[in-house]
Symmetry: C2
Subunit: 145 residues, 2 copies
DNA sequence: CAAAATCTATTTGTATACTAATGAATTTTA
DNA sequence: TAAAATTCATTAGTATACAAATAGATTTTG
């Protein structure tokens, strides 16, 4: 038995057992499932589009807040969605700072066509859990926000 | 009551209730906690360093596999750690394809000094849960890998 | 009202993360 | 053993993510 310096420290910290590491791996798996079911949109793009369709419209920053993206991130997301004609933006007449964002007809159509696969993504992500476990898991995960 | 097109679709998909979205937000919270406790390393840099100290040494791709990073990602991480003198790399003599990676003394020291804050990161991340809930949560989350 | 504070969007810079393509080295297999 | 397949590392390209700085617009407050 060769007891190296590493081994003595190893007991103190096992990466594979840490929440953060497991959380990251679970996210990676989910992202993979998402990409296979909805290849035409990234999860963040879909989130922005979904929230936009839910709200009707919003300023860029407001939309970012509602989808957990900071100002810099949501800007890039909206830029890419606009470049593809899925959303449209106009300066807010009542507040010259604000950029008013709206889903286009094409954007709403795409969103509508993604609802079913989106539900399947959720289903597939939670597939390893029983119905009871899913409820418990979502309840506990929601406490960590 | 103005019933817009959005509202009729809204019932079908509530972003804020989807696993993926909650998972992303929980990760964001964890990342924030990590950054506040260990500002000198990113979670992935720390993961690579921790696994390296655990294994003793490994090839770059092997290390990536053990830390859930693909070849392109682990390359960047190792490059940055090397630039800071926390790891050292040498061509593997037995396999000219492999890049042998090792933590330096400085890297091992930094890792050792991060173990306690790292445990506090885990603690703070799970703080909203009771002891029972933590066990249950980790058990369920681990099924989603 | 005017100054201070806040909000909005943008830009720059750094760091994951993944895809796809490449070339070199090694292993497999036919 | 020679060809095929695989592995390893690198590179280029795209897309989050966040920090920090900036400038303009609006709101708050003294």
């Amino acid at each position: 038995m060769s007891d190296t310096q590493q081994n003595s420290v190893q007991q103190d910290y096992i990466l594979d057992e840490q929440v953060g590491f497991i959380l990251r791996r679970a996210s990676q798996r989910h992202l993979g499932i998402f990409a296979s079911r909805i290849p035409e949109l990234t999860p963040t793009q879909f989130a922005a589009l979904a929230k936009l369709c839910e709200l009707g419209a919003a300023s860029q920053n407001e939309l970012g807040r509602r989808t957990a993206m900071d100002a810099a991130t949501i800007k890039g997301v909206i830029d890419r969605l606009r470049k593809r004609g899925l959303v449209a933006t106009v300066k807010d007449a009542n507040d010259q700072r604000r950029l008013f964002v709206q889903a286009t007809a094409e954007g709403e159509e795409l969103f509508a066509s993604c609802i079913e696969p989106a539900h399947m993504i959720t289903e597939e992500t939670l597939a390893p859990l029983s119905e009871k476990e899913r409820l418990m898991f979502l309840q506990l995960l929601s406490k960590l926000l």
